[in-house]
């Protein structure tokens, strides 16, 4: 069995380890297992960045047809990751602060941080500055669904909230809430 890289239909280059059958099963040896988990985390983060995916669910491993199929399954060697295995990987990612359960208090779905909330905060702020929307009030819809696609298009609201809260700590954002919903105002960097 030759291991080789493979380019998926969506243009993502899978590492050669993805065509190794043992990669898809949990290893009894803790060292081997932790190395494999490292590889999985790298793969998940890389693929999420490539496809701009934000949420990974244990359910994605249970049935075919999800956005994650290209990495969670390998039809060429007839392997797929098992839900329990994926659940463990997600737990490791959460413990390493590379993901967070969303909604909280469950372990079935998680936000994947291929950018940390701090990094998202900077991306958000830079975007707001670039479109000249400092000091104006933006709705979340304005940010997640702008007329022109941006780096923040389709960003999940919980992640967006985190980024806004981080900017709020340095006085660069201000939340405004009314009965009908919420908005946010970004302010010039105060020195």
């Amino acid at each position: 069995m030759s291991l080789s890289t493979h380019t998926t239909p969506s243009g993502y280059l899978l590492p050669s380890i993805h065509s190794a059958p043992p990669f898809f099963t949990e290893q009894p040896n803790p060292t081997t297992q932790s190395t494999a988990t490292e590889q999985w985390i790298r793969l998940i983060l890389g693929y999420a960045r490539h496809r701009k995916l934000f949420v990974l669910r244990v359910e994605d491993a249970e049935a075919a047809g999800s956005e994650w199929d290209e990495i969670l399954r390998n039809e060429r060697i007839n392997r797929r990751i098992l839900p329990d295995h994926l659940s463990n990987i997600i737990a490791t990612m959460v413990s390493k602060n590379l993901a967070s359960y969303e909604p909280a208090k469950q372990t079935r779905s998680a936000l994947i941080y291929w950018r940390l909330p701090e990094e998202w905060a900077e991306v958000l702020y830079d975007w707001v500055v670039s479109i000249g929307q400092l000091n104006t009030i933006l709705t979340f819809y304005d940010i997640t669904d702008p007329p022109l696609e941006s780096a923040l298009t389709n960003i999940p609201i919980p992640l967006l909230r985190k980024a806004i809260a981080i900017l709020g700590k340095t006085g660069r954002s201000q939340m405004i809430a009314i009965a009908d919903g919420e908005g946010v105002r970004f302010l010039a960097r105060s020195r």
Partner: protein, 213 residues
């Protein structure tokens, strides 16, 4: 940093703008929904037509037409809302411009208070007086030059002039005779002039010894 970053207050205007923007978002989402319905009705009409049920397809298309009407209505509503939001935001900008102008005006007034015309006139007068005084001093100082000094200065001046003239002359190739500097006189008057000066001179000589006493 004191930890207390002063955030601008959330004014009722802010709330109103946010409200409008949220309404706008709702309209946009509604449009998305209608677009979805439009696509669905077309797909249904196609499917019915393929199944040979022409009247069902017609109904689906009629529904679609109705939704299209809704779509254009929401379009115009959206336009209204967006215009309103833009107008409000622009008015806010205008308000801040007005505020800036007002502040500038106040500052200018403050400065003018310190700089009224009377004091400027007084100042200018004083300056003129001071200048006058300075000039007097200068004149006095200039007059302290002794006559000897003045002579030396004059001599220097003429030496310089000579230098300049001498330099000017050098480039001439031919030495032309110079123009006589005195007016030509006829010999008789010249002789008489000489005699006259001689007499004058002798008279002076006689007069001199008596003057010192």
């Amino acid at each position: 940093m004191g930890g207390s970053q002063s955030l601008p207050k959330i004014t009722p205007q802010d709330r109103a703008i946010l409200d409008l923007k949220l309404q706008r978002d709702k309209l946009r989402q509604y449009q998305k929904k209608i677009q979805h319905v439009l696509d669905r009705e077309q797909a249904i009409a196609k499917a019915q037509l393929a199944a040979g049920q022409k009247d069902r397809a017609l109904i689906a298309l009629r529904r679609r037409k109705y939704q299209q009407g809704l779509m254009s209505k929401t379009d115009s509503q959206l336009e209204n809302l967006e215009q309103l939001v833009t107008t409000i935001e622009f008015s806010l900008v205008e308000v801040s411009v007005l505020h800036g102008l007002k502040q500038g005006n106040d500052v200018l007034k403050e400065i003018h208070k310190e700089m009224n015309i009377e004091s400027v006139e007084k100042l200018l007068e004083e300056t003129a007086e001071a200048r006058e005084y300075q000039k007097e001093i200068g004149d006095m100082l200039a007059n302290t030059l002794t006559l000897d000094d003045e002579d030396a200065v004059q001599e220097e001046l003429s030496a310089l002039q000579k230098d300049i003239l001498g330099e000017d002359k050098e480039p001439h190739l031919f030495d032309l005779p110079t123009v006589p500097s005195e007016e030509p006189r006829d010999p008789i008057t010249e002789g008489m002039f000489l005699v006259f000066t001689f007499i004058l001179h002798t008279l002076k000589c006689f007069a001199r010894p008596s003057t010192p006493t």
